[in-house]
Symmetry: C2
Subunit: 286 residues, 2 copies
């Protein structure tokens, strides 16, 4: 969007009306603008988790505060979200500030506040991308195409799962692979209903992998993501190329110990571009 | 340290003098206490990089502000450092605040300020660790012992390299492996002179891997870490067991594209405990 147009919208001089109804994802991450960097939002029942909202939608909401900020330079490069407290259903406010602006990168800090407490916060880097030497070292796995796999039924107790189409190739939660005995899952994923991929939906997809402990260990225990970091490798061109086709997700854990485990994921485009890599540290009980 | 003793020291009622000279690492990350969460520090010539200080020492200094904070709960679980601007040689101030304190986790935000600008900032989770089910999924590689490998000579233009003993098994920078053509390095590493491992030195070691582009690409180009995240898997018992023996480091990149690449590392104890996993996003020119 051109700067004058964004400014005019922010100042309430122009309102753009689109006749198509908003996608449930866009409704869930919508923010009402206040003073610069100040927003109001509310949780969406569509993306409810067992307790509070799905973490991916909270991360996307915080990223959205940056995306919509009039001083933003460039596109998302990294996003670190801290889930610092339980988030209650209902209203919250968001405060975003540019901590430092350089020539081609910008560093952000953003808080989600509910009841005068910081329930979540994030740091973000946005950056201008330039053409350079490039080299993809990660390997795009050859797997069964999404069209040939049935989607997993959604999980009634985790409503947000109905907002994603998930087609498992391996590592279905609750069925540890006896062959490899590993925490790895491969699956095709996309928004449900389908929605063209952008940085916001990509950030949420990075948290849509089931916690690795549910793949690795037969016993279900309470879990919660403590903090997660996502690196965006894709630019707007690669995102546009992907459109609303399913992305390939790979996730695995390295270590489960003393109440915490790590989880690493890759998100690939249908044509073999690495769109994002993501890492999180997760609490588990017992 | 017991709480009353730390309080007494912070209030200037007691000073502890140890006759042994401080290790260069401890001198480099030392902080002078002001009001609660306020510190003064300065860069160390021992850990100078080509431009400004070695990033690992900046991250360790920011973590040290949390470690020394009187309100700290538990030990480091995660550390995300943003290198938001060049850091000049000389003095800086540090400001740390607990954003949220829960029953077993605490979320922190800390800034390094130089010339009224935020030159670096970090978010940290500290946590109490409890005994739980455990499972190590990552594989400890069988490699030549450190005692049988000659250390790499330090690099004169990067003075900090003289503060680490690095014994390469594979992936020496500037010599891309023609066999695998990969960005992976395996090496034994430790502080030089030797120093017992703790969370602070472990956090710095996580940034001591050479940038993967120097392994993967013969042409040297300017680089800079934009942001990095480390997850601490070790507890104080595992750190104490390791002592000052060399740790095994493994690092690789997944993707180099449009001016940025990612880098992932693992740090293993001599006996095969996964001590930390680390991830960063790095700028490169051309």
């Amino acid at each position: 969007m051109e700067a004058w147009l964004r400014t005019a919208i922010n100042q309430g001089l122009i309102m753009i009306t689109v006749n198509k109804p908003m996608h449930i994802f866009d409704t869930a991450i919508a923010l009402e603008h206040g003073d610069e960097g100040q927003y109001k939002g509310q949780t969406s029942p569509n993306y409810a988790n067992m307790v509070g909202p799905f973490g991916g939608i909270i991360g996307a909401t915080l990223l959205n505060a940056i995306i919509q900020h009039p001083l933003r330079l460039g596109d998302p490069l990294s996003l670190t979200v801290h889930f610092s407290a339980p988030i209650a259903d209902g209203a919250f406010s968001v405060e975003a500030k540019a901590v430092r602006t350089n020539r081609s990168t910008q560093h952000w800090y953003v808080e989600l506040i509910q009841g005068e407490q910081v329930a979540a916060f994030a740091t973000v880097v946005t950056a201008l991308r330039r053409d350079t030497w490039n080299q993809l070292d990660a390997i795009f796995p050859q797997v069964t195409p999404a069209a040939d796999i049935d989607p997993m039924p959604s999980i009634p107790s985790a409503i947000w799962t109905s907002c994603y189409e998930m087609k498992f190739i391996s590592g279905f939660p609750g069925r540890p692979s006896s062959a490899s005995n590993s925490s790895e899952s491969l699956l095709w994923m996309r928004d449900q209903p389908a929605r063209p991929l952008d940085f916001l939906s990509l950030s949420a997809l990075c948290d849509a992998f089931f916690p690795r402990i549910f793949v690795r260990r037969p016993k279900p225990v309470p879990i919660g993501t403590v903090a997660m970091t996502t690196y965006f490798h894709a630019d707007v061109v690669q995102l546009a190329e992907q459109g609303d086709a399913p992305v390939l997700g790979i996730a695995r854990a390295r270590n489960f110990r003393k109440g915490y485990f790590d989880q690493t994921g890759e998100i690939w485009s249908t044509s073999g571009n690495l769109l994002a890599t993501t890492h999180q540290i997760v609490y588990f009980k017992e």
